[in-house]
Subunit: 467 residues, 3 copies
């Protein structure tokens, strides 16, 4: 079906009318994407995307996990094996399998994102199905070959004002340098994601720490050298536009150890035989260290805890990380964040953005914490909850305690470049839908709702992320 | 008040119109009841139900727990005492007490189920009250004496296509044999519920294990003989139509021990002094063993964890099990199921159906798990959540991650035979109401919603339970 | 904007019509406020309230925590420092800061409460803003000086029928005596809140226990004397109208120790070096002791667990208790309450009212517990959840299991006297909105809804609190 202009708005005519008016004011605002996973190489090299399967199926864990859950092998979808073993290489065959299972996505955000992109970018208003799979493949493949579908052209077409990538601490940011040197007006910013050199349980952690030393000229076998190396890398990122760091820790644990304790823990995790608890403590100490660095260099600190990564041993062994088997777990914030908050939580000049995969924390912990500590803000509904029902719950569960100003607008958090306009549009529509209910129930004036809708669409993200 | 044709549909006229159209397509579909607790003796003997109190009050924990919470003694409701002590025996007196407290059920599903049965089966559209209690008693008692209200006639009148009972591993299934030998066309299937011979904390566990050996001719004092005995009993059940097993463990813990470890644990729980943790581990190991048996014999495995059974010492001592004092507890699935899922979770030919009494797990754990592991499916909103608000939350919290295809339709899970049509009707209405919102908000086409409504009403249950 | 007569009602016209009719029957009912924190001195002395800042900003943690979260120092809002250090003393300057940040409260209940009071009490329908801050200050300050705004006049104007304060066990209740001696018809009741003499971790606990002995003439160095002292104080409170006790424990833990064990634990917490676990156990034992006292003296027992008090070390050191940094935590009820419930949970003559700051417990634990134990009832949505979305969740998550009769109506729980009518009005509107949906969806008759609306507005509170 074609995209309906009223999609995601409440059915009630009064609310829908309000939602339409609010949305009209935000629909065409530029996109600010302060947290995401697009590849800087796209903007640097500006090459055509290869084919529909490589664009829509193979890299999208929302897509292949659903197909896998219903019995489709990942190999049949072209997901590369860790051992280089054989997987499907014919993109058209992958696309046909995708089409044959497209009905599985009814009721999911993936369907809305994909169909939005299909219509807006490729002019296709049909529902993907076995009967039209080949024809739609050809339409998409044909369009991808045109200049209008190159990454930079799409950046402009999408009205992106700024977009952040996510980059490892050891990344040389060469693509970012290329972008900046090219004279192109697009604003693509790196984000400092140091998990590989911070998490003692990360594959190759010790070699990574050594590499961090080599890269910075600091002695990363010492605690002070290790911290100094981080400071240098952050400066390197900041010089290329970074305004934020990001941390994908398993828990929200933070620590505030004395210098001697921190040194001893650092020695344990880099040269000893650390327990899982010591690894978690080290990650927790580093959050506090990064917050202190942020007080000096201004990076916004993002904390994304709560995922049990690589839950399936088999999928991890066969396909590696990020293959759809990361499962949320209960996440404590109240006790976990106390050391950090006692250390720096009252700094109004610091911004720590909290995300969660445990929705029970919204009203019980996160809104009350963000509603009192000046340094804390709440990130948007994340990952499994980046969807209409998830977004609605986020607003219903946080607004009455934390208001709107302690939230930071929308993140698309995606590596699916073509879905970015659809995701921001969904967020804007869902926020307008939420606001329309408050207005219709006379809990908020329409003028206030109008102002807030613009905050949520762009201003809060620009402010929180210092863009 | 008489049953309203639009009951449980959203008030908004647009949504209500959609819900009506969707419901029209599922209203008259047959009932498939793949999990429940009706008594096979009813179908085997086809005797009249005794009286209104025996039918609606004494056996229904939804009913007597509410009355008890407001000060009515269970003895006054005719609930039998464990010690055989005196309880009310006059069904009319029990019925009057029920009528005097009927207002307590306003807003609960019990009220809707009861009033549905009253109107559809007995033609009564009045609200039960002290003033009409005797008259309604007579109407119901009179009808119960007629052939049209016998179990088999009701089975046909209810348009039941298949119904599962729940039967202990030691049950001889004689009633099931009687049913099958009778030539009656009704399809009544046993379900393998082996808690009494699996749970070391179950009353009489060791004697039960010995009886299992006697019944099967296997040496259940050995681990291998014990497993072989289960396989034989499952075959006995399967020969009588069983397609599923069911497990009412306190937690979702699973284990995947080596053979030597499992043997040692078996010895501890059958001959030693096991700790509660060892008992839980043994139950957890047996889930994995049953899943392996399912790979061979095809039984669908149902896991119903999360109830703190017999929370009240007094009620348990005085009245025994299942008397309304089972209370949900927080339930972990992510870590608890990992051993099972690493062992068999990727088997697309296996079906494990998960239920929960901890709704926080829907979006955080269950939908993400069922949305990736081929062997997992989500059972419907269970027990306290088998009600309009509970069903709505189930769909809102699971659909965006797991879709519809990773759920299994509706279970009535009841021993209240006369409420079965009401329960399935409620589920169909609530699912249509949910779908009508997606359609009205242009998140789903009405054609797709129509197709899904039929899936949810019957097809997913038939498929998941292999009926 | 002026208060809209339909505020908080659903937008759908059918539901709104029903909500209007239900609300019309409860709008003008008297207010019963069985749990709150207004100052008995107000009613005793009947003096004018000092100024707008002292009334609306300085004492209201909902207000100053939000401003603090957005970078306003508490000193600038006149919140007194523990060390007596300098804070803003000009009420007009405080008011201007409040006005400058008023937009932060959009979407929060604080905005609705404040604007309700502003219009109803001061006739102001403008939205507070920097441009009108001085003028509104003058309007309010002028009105506060008039006799119509004195506490007793407001009590009558608010149609309060009874209001409970909250008073420490060591409080002499002199203000309550003054009120009763004055001949004024207002009904102001004390409530027994003994945390300071029960919680071993309370500042000055041992001195407080000694003072309790001095006050009662009992030997509070012995367990039996300590209990006797409580009984005497409770009698003192009851003689002044108290019908309830209240307990702000960190957890819901209860204990039912033998007399010897309890004596030993009492000795540890009063003369030894108790661990945190022993302190929690002692608080838990005291809940059971108080429940036993209630069986004799009839006080209703309120349990308010789940707050991590004084989460910020800095705020606690600088400003003391209750300064907005109390954060909810996950709260177990099922295991925690079992000792209490096994001891007294089946006593239909006892009333224990449970509150929660962990909404996940509503459907999982609290409704099932209150739906079976005669002694248990559920308090209304509390603190962070005393707001439209929070109230809606409370009803949606508890009604299907516990019905309405196992809840106790509304508590305003406030020290903000002028907000009391607004809070009760919000609760009445939200309950009517919830009921209107049930009626519109034909899940409840409008007659039943009408009856329930009155229960929720006043009758359940009067019954549960024995007023």
């Amino acid at each position: 079906m074609a995209l309906h202009p009223d999609r995601l708005f409440p059915a009630d005519e009064t609310q829908r009318g309000i939602a339409r008016r609010l949305y009209a004011a935000v629909r065409d605002l530029p996109i600010v994407s302060p947290h995401g996973h697009t590849d800087p190489a796209w903007y640097a090299l500006n090459e055509a995307f290869p084919d529909p399967a490589a664009l829509f199926v193979k890299p999208d864990h929302y897509v292949f996990r659903m197909l896998y859950s219903q019995g489709v092998a990942l190999e049949q979808l072209g997901v590369p094996r860790a051992d280089g073993g054989p997987v499907e290489t014919d993109p058209r065959a992958i696309w046909r399998r995708f089409a044959a299972h497209w009905h599985l996505f009814r009721g999911t955000p993936t369907k809305m994102w994909f169909e939005h992109a299909l219509e807006d970018i490729f002019g296709v208003t049909e529902v993907l199905a076995p009967g039209n799979a080949d024809r739609l493949y050809d339409v998409i493949a044909g369009a991808l070959a045109t200049p209008a579908l190159r990454p930079r052209a799409l950046y402009e077409r999408f009205r992106i004002k700024a977009i952040s990538t996510t980059d490892g601490a050891l990344d040389d940011l060469a693509h970012h340098d290329t972008i900046r040197a090219s004279g192109w007006a697009g604003r693509v910013l790196p984000c400092y994601r140091p998990d590989a050199v911070v998490d003692p349980e990360f594959d190759g952690f010790r070699a990574n720490v050594a590499a961090l030393g080599a890269l910075t000229g600091e002695d990363t076998s010492s605690w002070s050298g290790y911290l100094a190396a981080h400071r240098k890398r952050r400066a390197h990122f900041i010089a290329r536009g970074a305004t934020a760091s990001d941390h994908g820790h398993a828990t929200a644990r933070t620590m505030n150890l004395s210098r001697a304790e921190a040194e001893a823990l650092f020695a344990t995790v880099t040269t000893g035989t650390p327990t899982p608890a010591e690894c978690d403590a080290f990650r927790g100490q580093m959050i506090t260290e990064f917050a202190r660095m942020s007080l000096d260099d201004g990076l916004v600190l993002q904390l994304h805890p709560g995922s049990f990564r690589n839950h399936s041993d088999m999928l991890f062994r066969r396909f590696g990380r990020d293959k759809g088997a990361d499962i949320p777990t209960p996440t404590d914030y109240v006790r976990a964040l106390k050391p950090l908050l006692d250390a720096v939580g009252h700094e109004a000049g610091l911004t720590i953005i909290l995300f969660t995969l445990d929705e029970t924390a919204y009203s019980r912990e996160l809104a009350p914490l963000a509603g009192v500590y000046p340094a804390l803000k709440l990130g948007p509904a994340w990952w499994f909850f980046d969807a209409p029902e998830g977004m609605r719950r986020f607003r219903e569960l946080t607004t009455e305690t934390a208001g709107f100003a302690n939230t930071v607008g929308f993140n698309d958090d995606t590596r699916a470049y073509l879905s970015i306009p659809a995701r921001h549009d969904m967020a804007r529509r869902c926020d307008c839908a939420f606001l329309s209910r408050l207005v219709a129930e006379h809990r908020l004036s329409e003028d206030d709702a109008h102002d807030i809708a613009i905050d949520l669409a762009i201003r809060l993200a620009e402010k929180a992320y210092r863009l």
